[in-house]
């Protein structure tokens, strides 16, 4: 009878996920299959602040869990590279990408093998972000904190007000 409580805790507190695929190498699954990394995702910062009517605090460089933009019911795990209002240089492109309002730019660490904002989605709504991956807990020899880190030299303009902005229009 405690199962609903566990479910509530994992949607408002912390949840456990298996990382599938090679798109986040070398951060996750560095040796590939068959042992896959399992991570703890911190959700309360996003969910609790959303309940309070505030925008969750995301930082550039965080590894985030988000709902897949093109596949209902699925999740992806990527690194948050840019937030709304940023101007981003995308390797291999001539134009600079401007991130629209309420959106972000996510990329896998494994540039060659990742379907992400570069190759597939474009800017992704921040509403899809569910939480931050904080800790790898399995396999034991890989356990440890997930390091945050921005790609260097990619942002041409940083929007200083992108984090923790109060809500405005909603119609």
């Amino acid at each position: 009878m405690w199962a609903p409580c566990y479910f509530a805790f994992q949607s408002y507190g912390y949840s456990l996920h298996v990382v599938d695929g090679l798109s986040m190498q070398p951060t996750f699954n560095p040796t590939g299959e068959p042992v896959r990394d399992r991570v703890v995702v911190e959700r309360w910062r996003v969910r609790a602040l959303a309940l309070l009517g505030q925008v969750g605090r995301y930082s550039r460089g965080d590894v985030v869990l988000l709902r897949a933009p093109d596949r209902p019911g699925e999740y992806i795990i990527k690194r948050l590279v840019a937030l709304e209002g940023d101007w981003l240089y995308v390797p291999g492109r001539v134009d600079v990408e401007k991130i629209p309002k309420g959106h972000c730019w996510v990329e896998g660490d494994n540039v060659a093998l990742s379907a992400d904002s570069r190759t597939r989605y474009g800017p992704v709504p921040l509403s899809l972000v569910e939480g931050r991956a904080r800790v790898v807990f399995w396999p034991p020899w890989r356990s440890g904190r997930v390091a945050a880190g921005e790609p260097i030299g990619r942002l041409l303009v940083r929007n200083p007000r992108a984090i923790s902005r109060a809500r405005d229009d909603c119609s």
């Binding site: 009878m1 405690w2 199962a3 609903p4 409580c5 566990y6 479910f7 509530a8 949607s11 408002y12 996003v46 602040l49 959303a50 925008v55 969750g56 709902r67 897949a68 933009p69 093109d70 596949r71 209902p72 019911g73 699925e74 629209p100 309002k101 309420g102 959106h103 709504p125 921040l126 509403s127 899809l128 972000v129 809500r167 405005d168 229009d169 909603c170 119609s171």
Partner: protein, 175 residues
């Protein structure tokens, strides 16, 4: 035997209100499960869905089950996450599912209209019923289906306008 007994005895012995507290925590868990997967009550503000939903704070029943089971269809009024303001919620009507071609109606910002657009895989096209005063897919484009939280099925208040909210396809806009 001993550890099982201990688990059963310990909370009662340590807390006077252990039993009530545990019941309360369980009830919150069940309530959350219902809120997440069955239905929730929601209050709507804003002019974008007039006249279907008034701007003064109609109380609505949102069916979460059909969004989770992917039973949303064209013509449904849905509660969705905003593409413009993270984790804010909007209420719009679905005018197209993936693979549909929708006509982009003119908005106040773009009076000439936007022609026709294909809704990409895993996305829906949302539009407010009050097309003259609605920020929707015409402004921010198709929305991922994963941002649809539920289907608005019933209006509770104001009591005089209580009733089901129909699935209808606004004919001249869609196609």
């Amino acid at each position: 035997m001993a550890p099982v007994r201990l688990l059963g005895v310990l909370p009662k012995a340590t807390s006077l209100f252990g039993r009530e507290l545990r019941t309360l925590v369980k009830a919150v868990g069940v309530a959350h499960l219902i809120h997440e997967f069955v239905f929730e009550l929601s209050i709507a503000y804003g002019p974008s869905m007039m006249p279907t939903i008034d701007s003064i704070g109609d109380v609505l029943v949102v069916d979460k089950w059909s969004a989770w089971r992917r039973k949303i269809e064209v013509g449904d009024v849905v509660l969705a996450l905003s593409a413009r303001t993270p984790h804010d919620r909007i209420i719009k009507r679905v005018l197209g599912m993936e693979g549909d071609i929708v006509r982009v109606l003119p908005t106040s910002r773009r009076p000439e209209g936007g022609g026709k657009q294909l809704v990409p895989p895993g996305h829906v096209w949302l539009q407010g019923d009050n097309t003259l005063n609605s920020t929707d897919s015409r402004d921010f484009g198709p929305v991922p289906y994963n941002m649809v939280l539920g289907r608005v099925v019933f209006k509770i208040a104001p009591l005089g306008k209580m009733g089901f909210i129909e699935r209808k396809i606004p004919e001249p806009w869609y196609g």
